[in-house]
């Protein structure tokens, strides 16, 4: 069963320079209990998708077309009041740079209790505290650190506390926006393991957004590669990583060193991502692609199946 489906999602931001088409015609599905990764470079629309699902786009952001179907209900048509009931109780978010997402003047415990107070009026103070301590233990922080302030925590601990906070109202879907960015590699590994364990234990569905392909390869069942507000390739993560079918994915994978294969110089992708104020016609990767032809300019960017459970938008399949 699909817990979440994005159908033809279009999101734009109003800016001084004009309309920024951050996300265009994105289709995604997430099965219950699975982890979906969204990868891409800065400004490709990853975080925009993450924010539009729980309805947290900033004031200048607007969804102009498409559907976000969560458990069979279209979230776009919901009012702010209705969304408040879904947010955190059903869909929670681990924020980008969670390390700075705590109020420095309040104890960690109090801040984790807060969502419960906001959403669960019946819960007693004692119950909320117990649940917080239990979750802190679960993410590997001693329960008695409940009364500590954020500055008394290390970066990794704050990230763990943030994860605990996202689980506090027993959500079904967790959206993690760059959950391990800005942590060192050892801590990254620990946090990833933690995320995997928690997903199993609470049968969570999860969307992980990252620019770091190795993180996604480690965690995700499915992966989507985004570029210029569009999805270029999508599929079961092993298939996408082993056998990339879009030149962009291929180049992205080549820009990371491989620890198993031969020593090779990693290659960057020359050029810059396209302006999203005037998105190019056809394939957004055209400008930087080495395999481009004139046909690419008129390509409609429909995903087509290259092998079972593996889709690519490249015209040369």
């Amino acid at each position: 069963m699909n817990i979440l489906e994005l159908r033809d999602l279009n999101v734009h931001f109003n800016s001084h320079a004009g309309k920024v088409h951050a996300v265009e015609g994105v289709n995604l599905t997430l099965e219950k209990g699975k982890i979906l990764g969204i990868a891409g470079e800065s400004g490709c629309g990853k975080s925009t998708i993450a924010l539009s699902i729980p309805g947290l786009l900033p004031d200048n952001g607007e969804i102009d077309a498409g559907e976000i179907v969560f458990n069979g209900e279209n979230l776009i048509t919901k009012t702010e009041k209705e969304m408040e009931k879904i947010r955190w109780k059903k869909i929670s978010v681990i924020f980008q740079g969670a390390m700075n997402a705590f109020n420095p003047l309040k104890t960690i415990g109090k801040q984790i209790v807060e969502p419960m107070q906001l959403h669960d009026q019946d819960i007693t103070k004692k119950q909320a505290e117990d649940r917080t301590k239990e979750l802190l233990e679960k993410v590997g922080i001693a329960g008695n650190r409940f009364h500590s302030y954020p500055h008394e925590f290390s970066g990794g601990m704050r990230q763990r506390a943030m994860i605990a906070m996202s689980l506090v109202c027993r959500p079904e879907l967790v959206i993690a926006d760059e959950p391990v960015t800005a942590l060192d590699v050892m801590i990254q590994a620990q946090i990833m393991e933690l995320i995997r364990d928690l997903c199993k234990e609470y049968s969570l569905s999860m969307i992980i957004i990252s620019h770091d392909l190795s993180v996604l390869a480690e965690l995700c069942d499915r992966i989507s590669i985004m570029y210029g507000g569009k999805i270029l390739e999508e599929g079961e993560s092993e298939k996408v990583f082993k056998n990339p079918r879009h030149p962009y994915t291929e180049k992205l994978l080549h820009s990371y060193p491989d620890i198993h294969g031969d020593r090779a110089v990693v290659h960057g992708i020359p050029g810059y991502p396209p302006s999203l104020i005037k998105p190019p016609e056809g394939c957004p990767f055209y400008e930087r692609c080495t395999k481009r032809t004139d046909l690419c300019k008129n390509h409609d960017m429909k995903l087509s199946e290259t092998e079972p459970d593996h889709f690519s938008a490249c015209i040369f399949l």
Partner: protein, 296 residues
Amino acid sequence: MKRKVVIRERINKIKDSETLGMVWTDRLGRAGIIMLGAIMVIAVFGPVIFPFNAADIGKTAEDIFSPPSVNHWLGTDEIGRDVFRSLLSGARISLIVGLSATLISISIGSIIGLVSGYYSGIGSMLLMRVTDFFLALPVLPLIIVLASIFGQSIGITIMVIGLTSWPSTARIVRSQVISIRERQYIERIRSLGAGDFRIIVFHIFPNVMPLIYANTVLVIAGSILSEATLAFLGLGDPVKVSWGTMLHYAFVSGAAGRKAWWYLLPPGIGILFVVLSFTLIGHTLDKILNPRLREY
């Protein structure tokens, strides 16, 4: 013996409480605290031990403008009342007016600062224009006009001072709120589903609290001065004698011409000390709370 220990513990507790303890470690701040403490004690207990009766006037000609003596420690005024006693009760009035006016001023300033800083829009802009209007207004003439319209009573004085001295607080609080409302944790709390009221009261307000503290202390000093100015100009409450009122009567009764220094000096020195003590504490608080002013 036991009592001494308890008192010592209390003092240690005050020293340990973070902000006050830090003020205490600063030499100027410590001077301010000691001065203020002494004045507080005088204002609270002075009139109890040496009650002042405005009707207790002199009976003979010698009682008028008599210099300091055993009976009248600071001499007498133009109708033979004891200057020392009226000085003590004047301390009380001056402090009451200063503190109450500050309470009004800081409340208005903080609320306007919080609201106009948190929201951005026409309402917020209007609030700021109103603030600018009050900021640009020449306050003293305004206070004089208001006080003369609404009459001479201690309540009116408090209201008038409180209602005219809030704009700088509003400005300072607002600029800090604007910076805090963009922090990530505020965004996070909003996405948790917290309403504006909760965000402002539980998350932004504690973050601007130190600023409000430091500002409060300075506003108190200003309010006491304003009260003294008003009273000196004859717009104070004639029944509740404050230091400003004393100076007013000293001035109109020609105390200066009669060389009655015991009548003119004490209220002036009182005002000086109160304002100085609050300014010293405020300055020290500012130094502590604003890292850029910190000396290493």
